[in-house]
């Protein structure tokens, strides 16, 4: 009832829980809220009563009787709070240990999430794939459910992984691996963002989690494992021959000047420019690790760490000048010509 109301307000409400750790924390939070509300009511009613009852009347100028204290009363309002604290602590400890020390089931999905200024890298060691910014995990509850265990770390500064509906946040620190687990109840899209200040574009380090049915997840994995689609004439996609060795006429077949706006020319421009220093397209010579892996770029619905929709226009504008959308982000404007941008965009469109 309350979770549904909260969800109506916001897709990131901590009360509209969709996984076990979030639900346990939520139950604890209502328990604490209840105790706090009771204390608040009791003390503020006493305060209000005292203010009304003991206000000075203008007719009465004599000083009131002076009372200096009472040991019994002091003891009572020392001991009662200690009892309340004990109850709150035990309630907290129960949830704390049950969530944090949950043993990992053998069937769990492993994901290594790496925070970067200002995007997310997701590696699936069991499937040997790398994705970015949009995390796909399977439903975690029910008979076909599979729990996801995340290993969290960072490539640069401290970030924090937070999907409010699925669980509390866990920091991603350089030189350290933290862990958390999720078992989402229902398939769907869940939103979150970086929760530790990490630099100029902290606010646009957004995060989307797609919770898939087991079938959807299997087909997503299969699609991600596919090598990059080979372009016409084989292009430079073959891993065997370095692109430098591949003859230019083949890449720009039928267009000796190399100024056609097509994927084949785009790939050549992509590989001749600095793009490949930071970005990887598996199966090609592009193997940079500094920026997001682009092998299956078109399988993602968003660009720039979920800050904009993945449309050809947005993609081209982003390549032309990323800081126009995210001032302070680390991808520089490469000062390419409009034609080159269009060619690279055409190439990237083929990375499905």
């Amino acid at each position: 009832m309350l979770p549904r109301t909260a969800a109506a307000f916001s897709p990131t409400s901590i009360f509209s829980t969709q996984s076990t750790p979030a639900r346990q924390v939520n139950e604890l939070s209502f328990f604490v809220l209840g105790i706090s509300a009771a204390i608040f009511l009791a003390v503020s009613l006493l305060l209000a009563y005292a203010l009304v009852k003991f206000r000075a009347r203008s007719t009465d100028t004599a000083e009131p009787p002076q009372v200096f204290g009472s040991t019994q009363i002091e003891l009572s309002w020392t001991i009662i709070p200690i009892l309340i604290v004990t109850v709150l602590f035990l309630g907290t400890a129960r949830v704390l240990f049950s969530v944090q020390d949950m043993p990992k089931p053998a069937s769990a999905l492993d994901v290594t999430a790496v925070g970067h200024q200002y995007w997310w890298e997701f590696r699936y060691p069991q499937y040997n794939i790398t994705a970015a910014n949009e995390l796909h995990i399977p439903v975690g509850q029910g008979t076909t459910g599979r729990t996801t265990f995340l290993k969290l770390t960072s490539a640069d500064v401290i970030h924090s992984f937070w999907i409010p509906q699925l669980g509390g946040k866990t920091d991603m620190l350089p030189n350290r691996v933290n862990e958390m687990w999720l078992d989402p109840k229902t398939p769907g899209v869940y939103l979150g963002q970086c929760a530790q200040f990490c630099g100029a574009q902290h606010a646009k380090m957004l995060l989307t989690v797609y919770v898939d049915t087991p079938e959807q997840f299997a087909s997503w994995i299969a699609a991600q494992q596919k090598p990059v689609a080979e372009l016409a004439n084989g292009g430079a996609a073959a891993g065997a021959g370095p692109a430098l060795a591949s003859p230019v006429p083949v890449a720009g077949a039928g267009n000796p000047a190399g100024d056609a706006i097509d994927a084949l020319t785009g790939q050549k421009v992509f590989e001749q420019q600095a793009c490949i220093n930071c970005h990887a397209v598996s199966g090609t010579m592009a193997n940079g690790r500094f920026g997001p892996d682009l092998t299956h770029l078109m399988s993602r619905k968003s660009l720039a760490s979920c800050a904009m929709a993945n449309t050809p226009e947005n993609l081209k504008a982003w390549i032309a000048d990323p800081s126009q959308f995210k001032p302070g982000c680390l991808m520089p404007a490469m000062h390419l010509t409009d034609r080159q941008n269009a060619q690279i965009t055409a190439y990237l469109q083929t990375l499905k």
Binding site: T12, P64, V85, L173, C194, F197
Partner: protein
């Protein structure tokens, strides 16, 4: 107690006459710059802090404009990040610390019947060091990237987590200005803390045993002890950061095997007790003001002293509750949950004792009391949201969200700033000899109260709806827009209230009614001398026989000293 010691309102002292006229402007300025008088230094601290209160307030309002609706571009991301860094650093170090040290400087010698602080020259040195900190920090707007380039202020947040502050991620000199500023401020704070401790323990007048001291003096002593203990790790951390940045050290340089968590530990073992450094003196002010306006002695004085000292000790063992999400073990999380919850016990004792002081009194609702009641109510709520945050499992959700921002502003604004207004209304007549306008004070109070609750009550909700701190803008689909708009409007209402307060202060200085030595019919020693007090404070060294020396004079038939 000595006959004829109290009251001494008549200004026949030779000192005043000898001081003669006011002198030229240059002479007046010179007299303030070279002064070692605790009262002049105290007033300089307060004025300096109020100046920065306005600056930091403007920074906050700029941020609130930017956040009033989703996807605004009023401030650039970099500017926004500078604003929250400068706002936080300014409010904690240049406003909070300085105004508290200022009030302490002014009041402690007067309340314990001394003629000055224990070390007047150290006092002046500490003030000017702290003031230098403000110059360093704000000079970064001009010199942040070196004089040739455009200036930029630090933009890493007030707790400046490593390794974002390392040269790899923060080139230029903004972090250096921030570091040097905090180092200078730390030296000033340590100097003043030593001074306060020495004053409280060595300079009390005849008859004033430790358990007859005004609670304000007790709380300042506790706060000074805590400052000495906690400024040291902060200073050490700043030195380590500078070694990293310029001498090839690797303390926090994770790229070379350093530790990001190390900085967090250093910062929070300073940072959490720092909250108590700011709030303990304020507890002292409540404990002076509520009795006077309830017309009753403070309830449970020994319990109040014990609770204060208890809070200081416990607060040294709670720092890692700022780090529940950083990846501590479950046992570590449980320990810091328990230690944090335990702070609520002595804090609760204080709230209940204040309530008991009100109970059975004859409460006068004058401006200092209005703000003190606001403090009581808001501090209760701040304490309860604090307990919620100490629940480590729940904190995984709440940490770094706007719920936390709302919580600590409840402590800092709803608690500390409200009480500072109360204290300034209460002691302004002593400092200037004139009353502040009660009509304007009521406008100030009601506007401040409504603006405060509009801003900070509502601010909890976006946090519960998943809004993190430090974001310069947010997506429209998150459902945070309306709430943020209301929060921003409340912020501007508070801005108007503060302007009324400033106007009231300036106007009353020239036109306020003459206060006389004891306008509130109070009981502590500062009200036994003229307003403003002469340079030597007391013509004759006072001698006291109870906690309320002026009560004893006013009520010879019912003297406190009979019960002690």
């Amino acid at each position: 107690m000595g006959e004829g010691t109290f009251p001494i309102p008549h200004e026949t002292g030779a000192g005043i006459a000898a001081a003669g006229g006011k002198g030229t402007y240059l002479e007046v300025i010179h007299s303030w710059i070279v002064t070692v008088d605790h009262k002049k230094l105290g007033i300089m601290y307060i004025v300096y802090a109020l100046l920065f209160l306005v600056v930091a307030g403007v920074e906050a309002l700029l941020m609130r404009i930017q956040l009033a609706a989703p996807n605004l571009t009023f401030l650039s991301p970099q500017t926004f990040n500078r604003m929250f860094t400068m706002h936080g650093t300014t409010m904690v170090f240049l406003v909070g610390m300085m105004i508290l040290f200022g009030l302490g400087n002014y009041l402690i010698p007067l309340m314990i019947g001394a003629r000055d602080m224990a070390f007047p020259r150290l006092n002046a040195f500490s003030f000017w060091m702290s003031a230098l900190a403000g110059v360093f920090l704000y000079f970064s707007f001009i010199g942040g990237n070196g004089l040739a380039g455009t200036g930029t202020a630090p933009d890493v947040g007030w707790f400046a987590y490593a390794p974002l502050t390392e040269r790899a991620f923060s080139p230029g000199h903004t972090i250096d200005y921030w570091t040097v500023s905090l180092l200078a401020n730390g030296i000033g704070s340590i100097g003043t803390s030593i001074n306060i401790l020495a004053t409280v323990f060595c300079m009390r007048c005849k008859g004033m045993t430790l358990l007859r001291m005004p609670l304000l003096a007790w709380l300042y002593a506790t706060m000074s002890f805590l400052t000495l203990v906690t400024i040291s790790p902060l200073t050490a951390a700043q030195a380590m950061l500078m070694i990293d940045r310029y001498l090839g050290g690797h303390f926090f340089d994770t790229q070379a095997g350093g530790s990001a968590i190390l900085w967090a530990h250093f910062f929070w073992i300073f940072g959490h007790p720092e909250v108590y450094v700011l709030v303990l003196p304020v507890f002292g002010m409540v404990s002076e003001i509520i009795p006077v306006f309830s017309r009753k002695a403070i309830f449970g004085y020994p319990a109040m002293v014990a609770a204060s000292v208890c809070i200081a000790f416990i607060s040294l063992g709670v720092w890692a509750h700022h780090m529940f999400t950083i990846g501590m073990t479950s046992v570590g999380n449980a320990f810091f949950t328990l230690s944090t919850m335990l702070v609520s016990v002595p804090t609760g004792i204080k709230i209940f004792n204040w309530l008991a002081t009100l109970w059975g009194g004859k409460i006068r609702f004058q401006s200092p009391m209005l703000f003190a009641i606001g403090f009581l109510f808001q501090f209760l709520i701040a304490g309860l949201t604090g307990i919620m945050l100490s629940v480590s499992a729940w904190d995984w959700q709440l940490h770094n969200s706007y719920f936390v921002v709302a919580h600590f502003h409840y402590v800092l604004v709803g608690g500390i700033v409200f009480m500072l207004f109360s204290a300034l209304y209460y002691w302004y007549p002593k400092m200037t000899g004139r009353m502040m306008s009660e009509g304007l004070a009521k406008w100030h109070f009601w506007l401040m109260l409504s603006g405060f609750h509009m801003t900070f009550d509502l601010m909890h909700i976006p946090g519960l709806l998943g809004m993190p701190r430090w974001i310069y803008t947010y997506e429209a689909n998150r459902g945070w827009g309306t709430l943020n708009m209301l929060v921003s409007i409340g912020g501007f209402i508070q801005g108007v209230a503060v302007l009324i307060f400033v106007y009231n202060m300036v106007r009353s200085y020239f036109k306020g009614a003459i206060a006389g030595p004891d306008p509130w019919d109070a009981w502590t020693l500062e009200w036994s001398t003229a307003s403003p007090p002469p340079a030597y404070n007391f013509a004759v060294d006072p001698e006291v026989g109870s906690r309320r020396p002026l009560w004893d004079i006013k009520h010879p038939e019912d003297m406190d000293s009979a019960f002690e």
